[in-house]
């Protein structure tokens, strides 16, 4: 259903919808076009101002399988652009660019992965950001696209009419900039890392819909190191994804009975309990001695909170950050699949806020793009950590487990490590490109630790093996094989006896 006439008098609607006269991609479902409005909003949040037609066309090519799209012109623009020198040629060139983008692997494989609106928006911003920066003409309207799918079903004559109702200098200059930057855009399209998109789909975006999350996503997509983190994560994720929730007793009315427990509902009460006389039954109830049948598939209570403490100081630049973040993501995924609660926490000279996973969704973009802002101050960070762990433990009673990812020169004062250890179990992964045993006086306080050398990082089999060895020890019951590996270290990944 076409947009209401009242809407079409609003420049905020006429402007973007009229720009669709340039469009070369048409969704077969109007709901898809509605998604384009979300992408446009996301791009504007990121400061990337482009004609709606570009966002719509590029976004659809990366968001929807080909059979849901029709590629071709929507209307004949010739007479409208004839007055502007070179505009007709630019329109033709734009259509060729769209055809080329449609042939790209990133577009062809849109069907393989469900790409969220936040991800598509960030991807379009990454690809067309440079074009937007070259446009000097100010857009004469603020976008106010209607949340009405019908508004996007305009036919050719309607689009021509809407195009003609406003000054289109902005659209034409953007078009010229895109055509001039054709090779750059296509280079960026060809260099899109599908693995990154896959990982983001696999692990989730955890709040990337918010403005801050969009910025994280864009930063992650534009950061060359992201590819390495992603490659590494994907190498080890298959073993992670085998993780299953541990069966355990619970009170949910699902599956079969697994045994007897002290908690439950009346319908699962062991009937012989009713044989006690009234006073004794009341006492047993008050003292939690009453027996219930309990069921498997425990989900009602998480007894631990895993803090993934990642060093974001400048000392981690390069391959240290790659391994640390990749391993942290994989560890988090493993723990989440095991039914544990995880929270990411970066630190440099400060302990940054705790960012929790949302259900099974991890804040992947945040982890990939986080950048420290200050120097380094382990004294302050570990003092703050010990204090917070003590407080949180008192408040919710769950056992905290700290997984530290840092470099091998991380000298933390021993008393502070002891203070943290008094509140939580700790395991640590030290990334040491130079190799060798870290000369740190607190290693014996850790429940387990590993040292990962440059050699390990650089060798295909070794590094994945190392990571799997570490992850293999990340049990829900104990951090990183605590009992087996207390106080030991081994280069290459396995905790030494």
């Amino acid at each position: 259903m076409p947009a209401a006439a009242s809407l079409l008098s609003d420049p905020g609607v006429v402007g973007p919808l009229g720009s669709l006269a340039l469009s070369h991609v048409r969704p077969l479902s109007s709901a898809l076009a509605l998604r384009a409005a979300v992408w446009q909003r996301d791009l504007e949040r990121l400061g990337v101002v482009l004609p709606f037609a570009f966002v719509h066309d590029f976004g659809l090519l990366f968001a929807a399988p080909r059979e849901q799209l029709k590629i071709g012109p929507r209307c004949e623009l010739g007479p409208l652009v004839a007055k502007t020198a070179g505009a007709a040629e630019a329109v033709t060139a734009y259509r060729e660019i769209i055809d080329e983008v449609a042939q790209s692997e990133a577009s062809q494989r849109a069907r393989d992965a469900k790409r969220s609106d936040a991800l598509v928006g960030a991807l379009v911003a990454r690809l067309l950001g440079a074009v937007a920066r070259r446009v000097r003409t100010r857009r004469p309207y603020a976008t106010a696209l209607p949340a009405d799918a019908g508004a996007f079903e305009l036919g050719g004559p309607d689009l021509v009419g809407l195009w003609a109702r406003l000054d289109r200098g902005f659209e034409l200059e953007s078009l010229a900039a895109l055509v001039r930057g054709r090779l750059l855009v296509l280079t960026l399209v060809d260099a899109v890392d599908l693995d990154t998109l896959q990982l983001l789909g696999l692990l989730g975006l955890g709040g990337a819909g918010a403005a801050g999350g969009q910025v994280d996503l864009l930063a992650a997509l534009g950061n060359p190191s992201t590819h390495d983190i992603v490659s590494f994560s994907l190498e080890i994720l298959p073993s992670v994804l085998e993780t299953k929730s541990r069966p355990a007793a619970s009170t949910f009315a699902a599956h079969g009975y697994a045994g007897l427990g002290r908690r439950g509902t009346v319908d699962s009460l062991v009937l012989t309990e009713l044989a006690w006389d009234e006073d004794e039954l009341v006492r047993r109830l008050l003292d939690d001695e009453v027996l219930y049948y309990s069921r498997d598939q425990s989900r009602d209570e998480v007894r631990r909170v895993h803090h993934l403490l990642i060093d974001a100081s400048a000392s981690m630049r390069g391959e240290r950050a790659t391994f640390a973040r990749g391993l942290a993501l994989a560890t988090a995924k493993k723990l989440v699949l095991a039914g544990e609660e995880v929270a990411f926490r970066f630190f440099d000279a400060r302990l940054y806020e705790l960012v929790r996973g949302q259900g099974r969704e991890l804040p992947t973009a945040y982890v990939l793009s986080f950048k420290g802002e200050r120097g380094r101050n382990p004294t302050r960070v570990f003092a703050a950590l010990a204090q917070e762990l003590a407080l949180s433990r008192r408040r919710d009673g769950r056992e905290p487990v700290v997984h530290l990812f840092t470099h091998a020169a991380q000298d933390v004062p021993r008393p502070l490590v002891a203070a943290v250890r008094a509140e939580a179990r700790i395991s640590a992964v030290f990334i040491a490109p130079g190799g060798g045993e870290p000369d740190l006086d607190y290693l014996d306080l850790l429940d387990a630790h590993w040292v990962v050398s440059h050699q390990t990082l650089g060798e295909s089999a070794a590094r994945a093996e190392t990571a799997r060895a570490i992850l293999g020890k990340v049990q829900a019951d104990a951090p990183a094989g605590a009992a087996a590996a207390a106080g030991a270290a081994a280069e290459g990944g396995a905790p030494a006896p």
């Binding site: 004469p140 090779l183 750059l184 630049r317 390069g318 020169a409 994945a464």
Partner: protein, 626 residues
């Protein structure tokens, strides 16, 4: 004897020759005090010819010696011998009568370093003594002294930075003495202390001191072979330089950091630094340097690919590195090179799907060419020639001197580098005044004279004595110290000025406000903006605004446009008046760009400013300038 140094007692317009002649006559009459007074007045005239100045100085030395003022006589002798090529030995008679600390300085001047070290030690100056032992390569002796100092400082570390420097010196000398275990312990202690000190200093706004901490961290990293410390130091130094708007210094440091990382085989870290350098240079309007950095980034990613390939890394690592190089080269329009990389990628990829993808992408660039780009490193004339000073010595010396003006002036006087004659002469007079004042520490009048003598030195090393003077109980002295500090264009100056703004004495607040207005230099933006935001007194806000109005910086201009739009009426008036009288161009550019976006009040004020300066406002998109 402080009255000898009061310039008010000598004729204002008296010439150098006249004063010296009168001094000679006074000496002839055996009026040593009068002669000193006249000669000091003559020596304040720092621009006379050296031969005349040296003759007058010799006369002053003799006058002091005749009065039994051997410290002062030796000070004049330092000027004279220091000024001569080859540095002739100092008269033995003076040396014998001098204090151990002055003897030590003199022995250093004459090259007797070992004896100087012992003299410093007997004077209780551990830092100086340890440095002198280091100069004579007696590492064991130096280490023992650094160890003593480190223990005393770490026992109750009220000054984390000084404690860190002492530990660092202990590390260096332990290392040089071959004691690896002690060196390791000291390096760990120094690292902890430096990290904590840097954090605290930055939090309290003393970024330049935090900068020094990171500089020492780089040195620790280099000497221990721990590249993480080097990276930490460089990245934080870069952050501080950028926050302080020292763009050329920052760009030069970026280059150094990239080279350091590359030399360590840390290609990924080097490439990310080069990438940041390109972004920063572009933002700072240095496209040639930005292009140079992007080229370097592309080359480094190719280095990553090569190194990864050579050590049998996973193909995905090689592929990712080459794709990163593709993106960098694409940004610069180097499409022929992009095509070549895609060909390489096609050969590398393990999966058929990837090979097809790269082959198809590579064909697109078959006829492409590399665009010509202006890519240049930072030009030589914009580079800082001097490397980092040995802050682990310099700053500990300052700590040990406890704000003594006499010692700070002696350092300038005896500075082995090419100090300008004028500076050395001012330091000579400064030390003479300070020696007298420090002999009577309770005298406010003496302290006032010291402020006046230090005012024209304008060197960083003189800040500590002025800071000490600004903490004295007499309001008059505090005000004089602040007046002197208005000539010291360093960020550190703001610490004392801000304290002055909160002083209980209106006289001191006035002096601090006046000093604030004089502190206008690019990296003063942050502290000035902070003062403006936090000040409750209108006159303080106005002084900060007047200073900001004379800083040629986009951030300053944007702040002023903000004041014009949303500030109080009296603040707006001050900004308008200041900018009408200014000749800067940055505000004009920022104001023109803001015309279309800001409110009517600001538009009116901007038009008024531009009109007063005879500049036509540019028409903004949407007709904002109308």
């Amino acid at each position: 004897m402080i009255e000898w140094y009061d310039p008010a007692g000598v004729e204002d317009e008296a010439g150098f020759g006249y004063l010296v002649a009168r001094a000679r006559a006074a000496l002839g009459r055996d009026e040593g005090g009068q002669a000193v007074r006249l000669l000091v007045a003559a020596l304040r005239q720092a621009h006379v010819r050296e031969d005349e100045y040296a003759r007058a100085a010799a006369l002053l030395r003799d006058a002091y010696a005749g009065l039994g003022r051997y410290r002062e006589a030796l000070t004049v002798e330092w000027y004279r011998t220091g000024a001569q090529p080859g540095r002739a030995p100092v008269a033995e008679g003076l040396l014998r009568r001098a204090l151990p600390s002055d003897q030590a300085r003199t022995l250093l001047l004459t090259g007797e370093v070992r004896r100087a070290a012992e003299a410093f030690e007997s004077a209780g100056l551990l830092v100086r003594a340890a440095i002198a032992f280091e100069q004579s390569r007696e590492w064991g002796q130096a280490r023992a002294l650094w160890s003593r100092l480190a223990q005393s400082l770490c026992a109750a570390p009220s000054d984390l930075y000084a404690a860190a420097l002492a530990q660092f010196n202990l590390f260096r000398t332990s290392h040089l003495a071959g004691d690896a275990r002690a060196a390791r312990a000291a390096s760990v202690a120094a690292t902890h202390l430096l990290e904590e000190a840097a954090d605290r200093l930055e939090t309290s706004g003393l970024r330049e001191r935090a900068f020094d901490c990171y500089q020492v961290l780089i040195s620790i990293g280099r000497q221990t072979g721990v590249f993480e410390h080097v990276l930490e130091g460089y990245v934080n130094i870069l952050r501080i330089l950028q926050e302080d708007h020292l763009r050329y210094y920052a760009l030069q440091t970026y280059e150094e950091a990239v080279i350091a990382a590359r030399n360590e085989g840390e290609f990924v870290a080097a490439a990310t630094l080069a990438r940041e350098m390109a972004a920063y240079a572009r933002k700072q309007g240095e496209p040639a340097v930005a292009n140079y950095a992007t080229m370097a980034e592309a080359s480094l990613w190719q280095g990553v690919a090569k190194a990864s390939g050579e050590r049998g890394a996973p193909p995905s690592l090689v592929e990712n590195a080459l794709l990163a190089a593709v993106a960098s080269l694409g940004e610069l329009g180097q499409y022929r090179s992009v095509g070549a990389l895609y060909t390489r990628l096609g050969e590398l990829a393990a999966e058929e799907r990837r090979r097809t993808h790269y082959a198809r992408a590579g064909r697109r660039y078959a006829d492409a060419h590399d665009e010509r780009v202006d890519a240049q490193p930072l030009p030589a004339h914009l580079r800082h020639e001097a490397g980092f000073p040995d802050v682990w010595h310099v700053d500990l010396i300052e700590w040990e001197q406890q704000g003594s003006a006499a010692e700070a002036c002696a350092d300038v006087l005896l500075e082995p580098g090419p100090s300008a004659d004028v500076t050395r002469r001012r330091a000579l007079v400064g030390r003479l005044v300070a020696l007298s004042a420090e002999a009577d520490p309770s005298s406010g009048r003496a302290a006032l004279l010291v402020c006046g003598a230090l005012e024209h030195l304008e060197l960083y090393g003189i800040l500590a004595p002025l800071e000490a003077l600004a903490r004295r109980p007499e309001a008059e002295v505090r005000a004089a110290a602040l007046k002197a500090l208005s000539r010291f264009l360093y960020k550190r100056t703001f610490v004392t000025v801000r304290a002055g703004l909160a002083d209980e004495s209106p006289e001191v607040v006035r002096a601090a406000t006046s000093a604030l207005e004089q502190l206008r230099f690019p990296h003063a933006f942050d502290p000035l903006a902070r003062v403006y935001r936090e000040a409750t007194r209108p006159e303080v806000r106005h002084a900060a605004l007047r200073a900001l109005g004379r800083i040629e910086l986009v951030e300053a201009a944007e702040l002023l446009v903000g004041v014009l739009a949303f500030g109080a009426a009296d603040d707006r008036r001050v900004v308008v008046q200041t900018l009408k009288e200014s000749r800067g161009r940055v505000f004009v550019e920022v104001a023109n760009a803001a015309l279309g976006e800001t409110n009517a009040t600001a538009r009116g004020a901007i038009r008024e400013i531009l009109n007063a300066r005879g500049i036509a406002p540019e028409r903004a998109p949407g007709g904002g300038a109308n």
